[in-house]
Symmetry: T
Subunit: 141 residues, 12 copies
Amino acid sequence: MRILVLNGPNLNLLGKREPEIYGTRSLWDLENDLQKAFPDVKLEFLQSNHEGALIDALNKCMDGMMAGVVINPGAYTHYSYAIRDAIAALKIPVIEVHISNIHAREEFRSKSVTSPVCRAVFAGAGLKGYELAIRFLTENK
Amino acid sequence: MRILVLNGPNLNLLGKREPEIYGTRSLWDLENDLQKAFPDVKLEFLQSNHEGALIDALNKCMDGMMAGVVINPGAYTHYSYAIRDAIAALKIPVIEVHISNIHAREEFRSKSVTSPVCRAVFAGAGLKGYELAIRFLTENK
Amino acid sequence: MRILVLNGPNLNLLGKREPEIYGTRSLWDLENDLQKAFPDVKLEFLQSNHEGALIDALNKCMDGMMAGVVINPGAYTHYSYAIRDAIAALKIPVIEVHISNIHAREEFRSKSVTSPVCRAVFAGAGLKGYELAIRFLTENK
Amino acid sequence: MRILVLNGPNLNLLGKREPEIYGTRSLWDLENDLQKAFPDVKLEFLQSNHEGALIDALNKCMDGMMAGVVINPGAYTHYSYAIRDAIAALKIPVIEVHISNIHAREEFRSKSVTSPVCRAVFAGAGLKGYELAIRFLTENK
Amino acid sequence: MRILVLNGPNLNLLGKREPEIYGTRSLWDLENDLQKAFPDVKLEFLQSNHEGALIDALNKCMDGMMAGVVINPGAYTHYSYAIRDAIAALKIPVIEVHISNIHAREEFRSKSVTSPVCRAVFAGAGLKGYELAIRFLTENK
Amino acid sequence: MRILVLNGPNLNLLGKREPEIYGTRSLWDLENDLQKAFPDVKLEFLQSNHEGALIDALNKCMDGMMAGVVINPGAYTHYSYAIRDAIAALKIPVIEVHISNIHAREEFRSKSVTSPVCRAVFAGAGLKGYELAIRFLTENK
Amino acid sequence: MRILVLNGPNLNLLGKREPEIYGTRSLWDLENDLQKAFPDVKLEFLQSNHEGALIDALNKCMDGMMAGVVINPGAYTHYSYAIRDAIAALKIPVIEVHISNIHAREEFRSKSVTSPVCRAVFAGAGLKGYELAIRFLTENK
Amino acid sequence: MRILVLNGPNLNLLGKREPEIYGTRSLWDLENDLQKAFPDVKLEFLQSNHEGALIDALNKCMDGMMAGVVINPGAYTHYSYAIRDAIAALKIPVIEVHISNIHAREEFRSKSVTSPVCRAVFAGAGLKGYELAIRFLTENK
Amino acid sequence: MRILVLNGPNLNLLGKREPEIYGTRSLWDLENDLQKAFPDVKLEFLQSNHEGALIDALNKCMDGMMAGVVINPGAYTHYSYAIRDAIAALKIPVIEVHISNIHAREEFRSKSVTSPVCRAVFAGAGLKGYELAIRFLTENK
Amino acid sequence: MRILVLNGPNLNLLGKREPEIYGTRSLWDLENDLQKAFPDVKLEFLQSNHEGALIDALNKCMDGMMAGVVINPGAYTHYSYAIRDAIAALKIPVIEVHISNIHAREEFRSKSVTSPVCRAVFAGAGLKGYELAIRFLTENK
Amino acid sequence: MRILVLNGPNLNLLGKREPEIYGTRSLWDLENDLQKAFPDVKLEFLQSNHEGALIDALNKCMDGMMAGVVINPGAYTHYSYAIRDAIAALKIPVIEVHISNIHAREEFRSKSVTSPVCRAVFAGAGLKGYELAIRFLTENK
Amino acid sequence: MRILVLNGPNLNLLGKREPEIYGTRSLWDLENDLQKAFPDVKLEFLQSNHEGALIDALNKCMDGMMAGVVINPGAYTHYSYAIRDAIAALKIPVIEVHISNIHAREEFRSKSVTSPVCRAVFAGAGLKGYELAIRFLTENK
């Protein structure tokens, strides 16, 4: 079973940026932790600041090789209708994850243009949110 | 460890109402499944159509006996500032759960007045969402 | 044939409150008049100021014993998405009635969150509106 | 007793257009049915796609010959302040009727500029709504 | 002279919740202090988290036994048109009190649906606000 | 010198409708009074409830025979972009007149879609407004 | 093959009004050019300033004789829900044409209430837009 | 008969500022012209850039010496609720005048907070507007 | 103990303007009554129609001589961010008072830009509101 | 004659994604068809999911080698002011094409930030829309 | 070369008010520093809390003696269309300066009604902003 | 001392695009001029049309080598919350520069999503704005 874990803009800064919100573990740490937690799942990781690169990655999932996608679109959550369209084009389940509770921050963060086309949305569970999302994809039948 | 699982209006209809959205298992089934899944946690369940009853239950958690709350406020999600205040008064973590992806339905469902004061929000994971919320409360340290 | 006639908050004041808008007959008078006008229909009446009590009553109709519901949600009309969900869960026809023409009063009264899930809406016909609603339920096939 | 029954734009298509919403009986059928149902009332019928023609007809009612008006302004409901003014100028009761429940359709249909100056509004009762409106005019004293 | 002092949702938490905003005295303390400050007035106290219970209490004032009402509707202030209607039905003066300055907090707290039908509104004077409200009712002729 | 005086929907009711707002003189009286007040100007009068007829009349002015237009578009003021386009197409000055002060009435009356393309707007001067408008057209050089 | 070409208010002024926007050819020229460009298609032309007349013409297409409609609703584009309903009632394809790019002009022109029920919308192609619309109707299978 | 002619901020620049909009005659010229045009009326003139000074002047009219006021509030038109209150306190008629057609300029200029409490509003008639306003005050009985 | 009592625009008209709203006592009466009611407090009074004069007075309070301010900003309440800034700069408590219940009047009066920076807001208590405000400042510790 | 045909995000999925909306022909098919239909025009094709790449391509057109551009900006239509600026910088005509009728879909799709700076907009004509756009560029003089 | 440096309401409090935002140097210090920094420029300084006084000062610049204006309108920035008009009337460049970054504070501060008519806007550069503004005026040719 | 000068989309067109707004000097000229003006500062320049590339560059500044950033985000100013997040993650001062006065152009340009997280914003000073921004970074201590 293969699952794509996509991280959007500025998530490469994990551990360095606003640790009181995002924690102190790096993206590298997160990815290692997740792979260890799911030894039977083949996780593929991609982080990019480029909207187009995220869309490219989602488009490639149309080849049917992935069983699901976990995506944290970062700030693109709030305006990227292009990423939304790329998600909507997929038939496999896509789970949107946010490390912080986006509803408890600036007004603009409470609007998500990608949520309506995702299967589920997990916000505020910290890095743990990624693990729960993968668990949902692997256990939900 | 004790956790309160609160369900709001119309969730007593689980299994009977719009099964294509909410599934076919009853609230009774859900509560049994959850207790079985977490044998070491003392789960307390309450469902009520009465906004005041939900607030009463949240107020009682101020006695410090509960380690956390999982709440699905049903339609009160969209306008009950009174439930919001009751959640905000608590120091223990409160997780908001929605069975369906509320962002993929009518416009009014995408506004939550309770989310900003919850620790995390899980939407769209079906009944599985309750399990993930309890897992988050028990495993997150 | 059984029909439930539900009245929401402050309708217990009928006859006492703003008689130039609501008339001088009491809720008791209204209920008696209606039962007399439809001797072959078993009318069940409930008035409550409690949103939860109205939802409880609507939920009970899922047992299939009622042929229809006539509801005047009073001020809950304007914000109770919880009542809306309770109506939407029913398969029997629900008719929304307002004694006064809600469109001719304060701005906020012209917004109804329950109307979209009712079968029909009658506003401004005074107490006569209840009678017309029951007539519609009994004669419409 | 004379009552004017006014139908606005596209209601000449009754029976031909979207029968799942508007039914299969023609405007001609409707008018015949209504006259038969009220043998003691002199009903006058007018249908026009022209906003001005509807206003002309309403203006003529200022001669005091009509006891009331039943009007389905069709789509003019949503923007014709000119028809609204014509209704407001009348001293006899005007009942607004909509065949479908306009609150359960596109957003723009839930705004009525004519409702605030009508005596009552009946929506969603199908063709039966016209009958109930006439009944209200004839029985209400 | 009898005056009803009504407190809405979460005000039972006075002294326990956010003491930097609401102070450290309990609701019980407040009620005792008020009765002592006005020995010649018969104060009746009610606190409830239930919207319907607050409406019931307001409805009872229509019996003419109360000379006035002091109400802190808590979060219901911001959306309960049902409480608004119950206040509007009364002929005796109703004073709305808020412990904190609701205009200095979250955006949603600056909108009150009950204020337009109250006689006066006092916000931000702490527990002292209740005393001033009762003073206004007793001294204003 | 020729001037067209156009009156829109329901202005045929002048003298009969809401005399406290519109006065007691009829449209016929108004037209006679105006012609007498300006014996050297050839006034042409048209009143119609039909939006199209008003546009037809404005279109005809493109023949260059008229020196100006005085128009009271009635309720079309608030939504007829078609009349607006017809006015904008003219090179001669067009004066918009309203008998009552439209800013002192319902909210919707304070929005005019035709005003931006008129030369001047006179509101609230009663029937006198027509006279002032013609005076402006004849004296302004 | 028969196609109806409908032009709305003020389009009779083509060639005379704002030639920098609408060009110098008259409506008559346009209609002749179009018929010459499509010798095998029977084009029927109608221009009217009357909303009702445009609706009448659209209603007549329900007789099944037309293969399609090309409509430039002029300013009615921005508010005529009645024309929208008339278009929606048709089963044949309707193409909306605007001579100028309505998105590059006043704000109000960028809102079209008729576009959602048309098959396609062509704006900004000048008189050429009509030709492309007919081509689309004749070549698209 | 005495009439106060009030001019607000920047109208002292008349003749110097944007002559294509405001013309080339100075405020001094305007005041002289007006007095000459109405030899039998005692006109009193005041121009001030100070909102408070305009309010002071309006307040003084409560002494009953003035028969009416002509006011061009300049940009205060768009936000000075304080001037609005000062006008509303007067029992004599107040006419609002604007030299240019404020509806044909920037969006913010089409909102007037003073118009609802004036008797009439004349906009776009150039300096002539002042003369028409005085004429209205002197001739209207 | 010194307290500044500031009154904004048009409050010099007290007793003369709309006595059904503002009562019949003059500003002079009010100031005398207040001083008599608080013989041990040195009250300083200022009324001005000039926004700048009110700001000047507030700025002077930065010298630390005043123990508090009672301000009725009149219509400046609704838009004067400059007065808001002047209040926010003070460290002493400022109480905002309105004679009428501003929430029960025109829509625009329910928005206060000064309230968020005041300590408390009293509205609707008539002239009594000033007394209660001073009482609050003198008794609150 | 050279024309650039630009396709934005997710249009590489043509034929694979939602065929009931976008048809079954691939982007490759479309490009071949277009080149065949215009043998005398040199068409250059580019598709990219990267906003920046689309801007780069538009910027290159400033070298004067292209006679026009046909662009389907995909979802960037709704928010890319950067692409808008790139189009506005060009002096050659740019035609915006949408395969589906964007006005008949989700609300957000009816807002285009690029349309105001394009010469023309064709929406809803399917793949045929590209052909009509090229035809317009080659035949329009 | 002469330049006017205008400061609006509450800027007389510089150094005393919220030093963490506005710094600890007084307005007097600022003015001295600026004159020293530009020994060859004749700087004229004015601070006023009175909107009218600021307009008066701007109006005087129409005499052509000033080469430019640096203005910090304080809170008038957000609503004074009267100051906006006074700036727009000038032909010399006007630079708007804000000590703090107004976009990083309360929502209402991010709206400036004066910016659209200024040549440039500098915000957030502290007192240094005034120096940069003068430098721009003196060095920009 | 090192400073990064970032230019966003379409700024590579400087000198070629709308010279009346942006001047005639190229980006190359600008960069040379700036380096010459600050010989003691090491300026690093980057221009990109790619949102992701701008974020990459900002992310790299977290290595602590830069003393500050001058950024002109071009049209990304108006919607790129991703660039906003990248700026907010930095501890060094970031100055936002716009060549033109963005408040004096289209409505959408007056909204900046990046300004709230920048230290200062300079708009409308032409190319000179970059110089002033660097001067601010080098002189401000």
